[in-house]
Symmetry: C2
Subunit: 243 residues, 2 copies
């Protein structure tokens, strides 16, 4: 857990939003939440109800602090999420860059905190003065409204996306395996023989090209062994019914 | 608008969730929504209320279709978002890879659709059979619950993240400019002179090292011209009060 950033909700108003933020964090494996002066007090039954499975793993361990300064006291680097970056003299980073930096800092043993402001008003100047950098989520400038839990969700997603060892693409094979080149060749042979006998490759001058196209078609398909058996069977059945 | 993917909500149950999905799309600049057989009919006042500013720009143009097959009829490539990828024989891709592929397809003039299933049950086998690939969001396997609007939000974010020309990091300067090296040198000189006069560089054997450290401190700071003026003024004032 110490190899994670801390997400600090500054003066959150509604318990439901704290709960939704806890869920969004845990969806992407983050569990270190801190709260600064939650408006409706703490603990919050509404937060627990909304957090469901994240209540025990996030909310129950959330630290509550009187001021933002107290909540980030142990952090070597503080990011603030705010839509009001333009009149500030701070580095403004994408969530992507922020999480790259956070991962590097945390890997070197330093603590990193992310500030999220109250629902309506966002972070105040005194909160932002504590931040080393500002995160700007690349929203549509004509429709930038993100709620608290959405901002938390996107930051948590970025954290996990960069750390994920999920391969970007796998071919799921269910209960079967990918067909071998030999199996695909036998399938291609089977179809070619039967189509030849049926007079498909006509006229003769085009036959070679048509056969080549068909072989390329088969090899381009991501066929499993089960697919190959299905296609053999389908061809046999077509001919059986015709005869 | 044709250079965008289409997000298809399949048999969505609650109007509020359709509205929230529309907002999430427009937050990241997407406006092409299609609906398959929404449970509570269409149009939906609850969807409009939740969508707020996205009602006119997304919901009013949403096409409504009787079947998923009809809704993706014009798409050259269909992605399905589902948590049930493991027993399928399809490529399973991260949102990141999916949006890379979608951008390439759309850039070559092809239409791309993304399927999102109903709130409780997700996509059915017949829906998934229409998909060319499955998107798997890299959630915490111990707490994978994402709601419909969250899945839409993350996919829309990935689309925009990859297309964004936002620089990953900028130093916002408010109404001022970054100080020049000469201005920083004058500032360093000013402090060094006054600190020297005050007897700060002691003992003599360490003075050169201390001065070097201080010069490195100044150059490491991302100072603006206004910062430099502030620091000159602060030093002058300290000395004025002392004298």
């Amino acid at each position: 857990m110490t190899d994670q950033p801390t997400f600090v909700l500054v003066r959150p108003q509604m318990g439901e939003n704290i709960g939704a933020a806890a869920r969004a964090m845990l969806n992407f494996g983050l569990a270190r939440m801190r709260l600064v002066d939650p408006r409706d007090g703490w603990p919050s039954p509404k937060a627990v109800a909304m957090a469901s499975g994240a209540a025990g793993r996030v909310l129950d361990h959330a630290g509550v602090f009187a001021t933002t300064s107290d909540a980030v006291g142990d952090a070597a680097f503080v990011f603030a999420t705010t839509a009001r970056g333009r009149d500030l003299t701070k580095p403004i980073v994408t969530p992507e860059r922020a999480m790259e930096q956070a991962r590097a800092l945390i890997a070197s043993g330093q603590k990193v905190a992310f500030l999220f402001g109250p629902e309506r008003t966002g972070l105040e100047n005194d909160d932002i003065a504590l931040a080393n950098a500002i995160i700007s989520i690349p929203v549509n400038p004509e429709f930038p409204s993100l709620n608290l839990a959405q901002a938390v969700l996107l930051c948590a997603y970025e954290w996990r996306r960069q750390g994920s060892d999920t391969p970007p693409e796998v071919l799921a094979l269910g209960r079967t395996e990918r067909a071998s080149a030999l199996e695909v060749r036998h399938l291609a042979d089977h179809y070619e023989e039967r189509l030849d006998a049926a007079g498909f490759f006509f006229p003769d001058t085009k036959a070679e090209g048509m056969k080549l196209n068909l072989r390329n078609l088969w090899s381009r398909m991501p066929l499993t062994r089960a697919d190959v058996q299905t296609l053999h069977g389908a061809l046999r059945q077509l001919l059986r019914r015709r005869d």
